[in-house]
C-alpha cells in the first residue's frame, strides 16, 4: 500500500498552478496525479516521493489535505493487462472507488493507482493472482527521467 495525498481545490483560475508551485518550493516530486471535479470544487489526488513533506507544505498554506492508503498495481502493458487485476478484485467482492494511471519507466509494465473499499483483502487477492504491487519505498526510489534525485 502507498499513501495518496488529496487536496481540496476550488474550481477557479490559477489554483492548480498554485498547488504545483507549493510542491515545487517544497522540493517534492510528483509521481502520479488525477483530478476529480464537480462544477464547484475539485479533489486533486497526488502520489509523491515524500508525502510527509507535501502534507506539511499544504497545511502551511491552510489547505484541506488528507492522506489515504491506495494500491499501486503493476500490470502487463498489453491488452487485458488491467482487466486481470480488476476482474480479480470484482470476483472477490471488492469495489474500486476510483483509479488512475501512473507513469512508469519500467519497460513492459504499466502502473495503476486503485482506491478500493478493502485494502487488506485487495492486497491478498492481487498477490494470489500474481499481480505486482508497488511499495512506498519503490515509489520513493523511482527516479526522475534523468536518473537523478532532484
Amino acid at each position: 500500500m502507498i499513501q495518496q495525498i488529496s487536496v481540496f481545490i476550488e474550481n477557479k483560475k490559477g489554483r492548480l498552478a498554485f498547488i504545483t508551485e507549493v510542491l515545487a518550493k517544497a522540493g517534492v516530486d510528483i509521481r502520479a496525479m488525477s483530478v476529480a471535479d464537480t462544477s464547484d470544487f475539485g479533489i486533486l489526488r497526488l502520489i509523491v516521493d515524500n508525502p510527509d513533506k507535501a502534507v506539511e507544505a499544504f497545511r502551511n498554506e491552510n489547505m484541506a489535505v488528507s492522506l489515504t492508503d491506495v494500491l499501486a498495481v503493476g500490470v502487463n502493458d498489453t491488452p487485458g493487462g488491467l482487466a486481470a487485476a480488476t476482474n480479480a478484485l470484482w470476483s472477490n467482492g471488492i469495489s474500486v472507488e476510483y483509479a488512475y494511471a501512473f507513469i512508469s519507466q519500467k519497460d513492459g509494465t504499466a502502473f495503476v493507482i486503485l482506491r478500493v473499499d478493502d485494502n487488506d483483502k485487495a492486497v491478498k487477492v492481487l498477490k494470489d493472482n500474481g499481480i505486482i504491487l508497488l511499495t512506498e519505498e519503490e515509489i520513493m526510489a523511482m527516479s526522475n527521467p534523468q536518473g537523478q534525485q532532484p
Binding site: 488529496s6 481540496f8 476550488e10 464537480t38 479533489i43 491552510n62 484541506a64 488528507s66
Partner: protein, 433 residues
C-alpha cells in the same frame, strides 16, 4: 376612482383620528402593562405608569420593542391574552434559529382581514372579483392574510398558494382571476410563464396585482404591468404587527395608506431614537393600538421609509408611507422570505462548523437565488467527491429547515473567506433593484 370599504375610517378627519388613536393607545398601554410581564418590567424601569400615557402625544415616552424581545420571550411570552382567546398562530424568521411567533384573537384576525379588504377595494376590488392568492399558505402571513381579506370583502378567494406555475397560469386563464396577490418576483415569473406558454396577457381577465413581502422598484412595477397587462400595486406588512395589509397602495400609486386606526406609525432616527417629522426618511416604528393578542408598543420594523399626511387624490386621509428603501439591519428578503445572516451562522454552529460564510444573493430570470459559501473544514475532508457532496447536502438541508428557503451550498477552501475585522462582509447582494 373606486369606492371605499369603510369610508368612515378611511376618510376620517385628522382631529377625529387623533382622538381615536389617543383613546386606543391609553387602553392598549394598560393592557400591555397588566398582561405582558416584559412590558410591566420595562415601564416600571423607565418610571412610567399606564396613567402617564394620556394621549398619542405621550407615545414618545414609551420604550421601543425589538424583534429580539420576541425571541427572548419565545414562543408566546409577549401574548397579552390567555390561550382560550387565541384563534391563530403565525410565524416568521427570527434572527437566529428561533422563529418570531405571533398570535391572533378573533378580533385581531378580523381587523387584519378588514385591513386587506380596505386595500382590495382601493384598487378597484369588489364582491364580484376572483382574488387569486399565490402567496404561500402556512405559518407565513402572506397567503392567509389576503385570503381572509378577500373573503371579508365578499370577493371569491382562490387559495392557489405558491408554486406549480403552469397550473397558476391555467387557473388565471380558466377561472378568470381578476386580482392576483403574490411577491413581485413570483409575479414576474408567472408573467414569463404566461408568455412562454404562448398566451397573450391581453386575453386574460386579470386586471390588478397586490405585490408585497419583498422590496421592489418603480422599474419592476412597469415591467410587471407590461408583462401581465395589469396595474401593479404595493402592499406592506409584517407579521409582528399583523401581516400584509398594515399599509396598502391605492389606485393613485403614490405611497401606501397605513391602517392607522389600528397600526400607529412613527418615523424615527434609528441612531438616536428621536421622532422625525413627516417627509423625512428614517426607521418605521409601529404601535398596535387595536390588537388584543400581541399589542406591540413602538415596534422597530427596521424598514426605512417616510410618512406623508396630505389628503390623497383617492379621498383617503389615512397617512401614507413611501415604499421602504432599505433596512437598518442586515435582513435580506429572498423570494419573499426574511433571511438574517445570523441564522446561517447559527446553522453552521449547530453543525459544529466554524461560522465563516458568505451569502451571495442574485436574481436569475427574475427569481432570487441564494448561495452560501462555507469553508471546507479540513478535518472533514477526505479523498472522495461523494463525501464532499454529502457534506454540502447536510449543510443545505440544515439551512432549508431553519431558513425555509433552499440555498445552494458551495464549499470553498479553508481560510479563504473574509475574516471578521470589526465587520466582516457576510453578504454580497448582486440583485439590481
Amino acid at each position: 376612482m373606486s369606492g371605499f370599504y369603510d369610508e368612515k375610517w378611511e376618510c376620517m378627519s385628522r382631529d377625529e383620528m387623533t382622538e381615536v388613536q389617543s383613546r386606543r393607545l391609553v387602553k392598549m398601554v394598560e393592557r400591555c402593562y397588566n398582561n405582558v410581564p416584559l412590558y410591566k418590567e420595562r415601564l416600571d424601569k423607565a418610571g412610567i405608569q399606564p396613567g402617564d400615557i394620556k394621549s398619542i402625544e405621550d407615545l414618545g415616552k414609551l420604550p421601543f420593542t425589538y424583534k429580539s424581545d420576541l425571541r427572548d420571550t419565545y414562543p408566546f411570552g409577549m401574548f397579552a391574552v390567555p390561550k382560550e382567546e387565541l384563534i391563530r398562530i403565525h410565524a416568521s424568521s427570527g434572527t437566529t434559529g428561533k422563529q418570531t411567533v405571533v398570535g391572533y384573537t378573533g378580533h385581531d384576525i378580523d381587523i387584519w382581514a378588514q385591513s386587506c379588504a380596505r386595500g382590495l377595494v382601493s384598487i378597484g376590488g369588489s364582491r364580484s372579483d376572483y382574488v387569486h392568492v399565490s402567496y404561500g399558505y402556512g405559518l407565513f402571513t402572506g397567503g392567509l392574510g389576503l385570503h381572509y381579506g378577500a373573503e371579508k370583502l365578499g370577493a371569491t378567494a382562490i387559495p392557489v398558494s405558491s408554486g406549480n406555475t403552469k397550473r397558476q397560469v391555467q387557473i388565471l386563464q380558466d377561472y378568470g382571476s381578476d386580482i392576483i396577490c403574490c411577491t413581485p418576483s413570483y409575479a414576474m415569473f408567472i408573467g414569463e410563464t404566461v408568455r412562454d406558454m404562448g398566451i397573450d396577457p391581453k386575453t386574460l381577465k386579470l386586471r390588478a396585482g397586490y405585490f408585497g413581502a419583498e422590496a421592489w422598484t418603480e422599474n419592476m412595477r412597469r415591467e410587471l404591468e407590461k408583462i401581465l397587462d395589469i396595474k401593479a400595486y404595493d402592499i406592506y406588512g409584517l407579521s409582528e404587527i399583523a401581516g400584509p395589509g398594515v399599509a396598502f397602495e391605492c389606485e393613485c400609486q403614490t405611497g401606501m395608506h397605513i391602517n392607522e386606526d389600528w397600526f400607529y406609525p412613527e418615523i424615527i432616527d434609528p441612531e438616536t431614537g428621536e421622532v422625525l417629522p413627516d417627509g423625512e426618511y428614517g426607521e418605521l416604528v409601529f404601535t398596535c393600538i387595536g390588537k388584543e393578542a400581541l399589542p406591540l408598543i413602538r415596534y422597530r420594523t427596521r424598514d426605512i421609509s417616510c410618512l406623508t399626511r396630505e389628503k390623497c387624490e383617492c379621498g383617503r386621509t389615512l397617512v401614507k408611507m413611501a415604499k421602504p428603501k432599505g433596512r437598518t439591519d442586515d435582513m435580506l428578503i429572498i423570494r419573499g422570505i426574511n433571511v438574517f445572516p445570523s441564522q446561517v451562522e447559527h446553522v453552521l454552529l449547530s453543525l459544529k462548523m466554524d461560522p465563516n460564510y458568505l451569502i451571495v444573493v442574485d436574481r436569475v430570470g427574475n427569481l432570487d437565488t441564494m448561495e452560501v459559501q462555507v469553508e471546507m473544514p479540513p478535518e472533514d475532508f477526505s479523498d472522495t467527491v461523494r463525501n464532499l457532496e454529502s457534506l454540502e447536502h447536510k449543510i443545505a438541508s440544515a439551512l432549508q429547515s431553519t431558513l425555509n428557503i433552499s440555498a445552494k451550498v458551495r464549499l470553498v477552501e479553508p481560510k479563504s473567506l473574509p475574516r471578521s475585522e470589526g465587520k466582516a462582509v457576510r453578504v454580497i447582494d448582486k440583485r439590481k433593484l
